[in-house]
Amino acid sequence: MNRLKYILKRVLMAVPVLWLGTSMTWFIIYQGPVDPAANLLSGSERLTETKYEAARTELGLDQPPLQHYVDWMWSLFTLDLGQTWLIYPGSSVGALVLDFLPRTVWLGFWSVLIAVCVGIPLGFYAGIRSNTVADYIASVSGIVWRAMPNFWLAVILLAVLVGSESLLGFDWDSFLIRLPTGVTGNPGLSYMAGDPLALFTQPRDTLAAIKKVLPAAVVLGSASMGNEMRIGRTAVLEAKNEQYVEFARARGVSGRAIVWKHVFRNALVPLVPVITTEAFLLIGGSVLVESVFGINGMGKLFFDAAIQGDLPLVGSLMFVFIVLLLSINLAQDVLYTLIDPRVGYEGT
């Protein structure tokens, strides 16, 4: 089987997962303990039977469950996402997702990238120079990064950056690119709306958006950075003691070629699932960091929607999360086949 067929098969296999995930979301909100109709009537209104029934009718909750389910799934899969019930009442769900999603993806992307670009080289370096002073320093700092809780690190970093003038001797706000809105707040991504290529054609805006999200990305990526460092170190240690490395040495392959060609590629194999698992955690589980840095991302939105029982919004966000998860999984499997030829296209 060739690679294209393999990917196609994986995409097809993703459909049932998508269906199951969204169905469960519907079931939990529709049949679960959260009552959206009651939430709609919260506030000063007096709860009466007629008003409650009117709210249920308004939300369509009085339909037979099966009909409601079919209608809801149909509109979801035709991307007719409708309007929110409770969060920013009456707004278009599609517009809301399009507004919030890019910020979360932007944050997640940079935190994964920073973690990968710092953690893996550091881990590989420590593995190659195992049991030297450099290794000990790298290993210990990896553990320290991993051990610091997100929310604590976020607050400390925020405090340091706000007081950067007196603490560090330079002003973070005007460093490299001036950010008039301060350390916290949303990264300005609107310049890319309708023109994704602006990412490259307007480097000033891109740089500003990166700088804005950088502190949050460092905090969010810190734990995975430590993880990747430690697993990278172990992977290199394991690979460099393999017999094929000894054989390569005996064949006269230079030390540099052994490390770059024979050790590193094999050491990447155990790192792939670590990176992809963390990628999803970073994209989905960033509520704490988002709230400390004042970034309006999907984490907070999803949390609010789920608590209130805003079915259209929860369902749509769930839909987006599942699609993200599946594409990251697919990327992981493709990465595997690229790095390790033993991972075949069959039987996976």
Binding site: F247, R251, G252, R342
Partner: protein
Amino acid sequence: MRPDGARERPDAATGGRERPDAGSARADGGDPLLAVEGLTTVFHTDKETIRAVDDVSFVVRAGETLGIVGESGSGKSVTARSVLGLIDTPGVIEAGSIRFRGEELTGGNWDAHRGDVSIVFQDPSNSLNPVYTVGNQIRETLRIHQGLRGRAAREEAVRLLEAVGIPDARRRISEYPHQFSGGMRQRAVIAVALACDPDLLVCDEPTTALDVTIQAQILELLGRLQREEDLAIVFITHDMGVIEETADRVNVMYAGEIVESAPVDALFESPQHPYTRGLLASIPGRTVSGDRLPTIGGEVPTPTTEPAECRFAERCPDAFDACERVHPEAVRVGPDHTAACLLHEEAYEHEDGPSRRSADGRGDPTDGADAATDGGGLG
């Protein structure tokens, strides 16, 4: 450390017997291909220092096959890795010299001779990098040692795969190691090893991980390659049957030392060391069917100190008191045949005789006459 003389045996008393050294091979003219003298490779662990190879000497002449045989843990593989310069910390070559065509290799000169000596490891599933094609790894080697690139390298790689008997080589060259069966994989490993264009091929139990029919094919292949490419082979195995088939000369190793060295026929016809006799007796098929297969009781000790006794004494059926106190050195027992055993040293034959030692009869270390000879070495 023991005093200098302590390692000497009472040679003065052995009369007319000569003590052949490893260097004796030089007598027949010119440098041998590989000359190992007094090789001592130790591993420093936290607890102790393990003398994995202890004062080992041997030579390999061009085109010949030297077999090294012994139980697991006798130091065969460490000998092979020492010769190839693959000893890493905590291991270190503490003493001795390894000369290839007269040029010293120890002290970090391996890089100048990489490829002159090549190696085939025991487990073919681990010898090739799983993420690169077989062809890639052959071409990598060809580029380093023969400067071949591009089409020339590819053609030569196909030729090598065909030479080691891999059918459909042109297609298989772009396959990955995991797509080869065990026997085919070992052939591919041999092809990679041959891409170095070596003069000496060290085979470290190359057939142990393979089933018997494949084993025979690989042995046949090695024999053919040896004739065609005029290779010298150091064949390491614990299988006496394989040794009988392949080797010209045999070194028997025990606990880091060579205890007997002889041409293969002489060794099988008249083994002179009790350990060799034990090994030969424990080959299935050499005993009368129905009898229990004889074994050597106990296991190989891990040597941690310089030898002050015969390391085999504890398991030796012929051991006597002196074996506990005197370290035997190689004695000439026949043409080109040496054994390191006190049974062959007249001094002890006269004093104790090769009588069986009783369980409680272990000699007092300060025992009169022997202690005196022990200290009074040749100087």
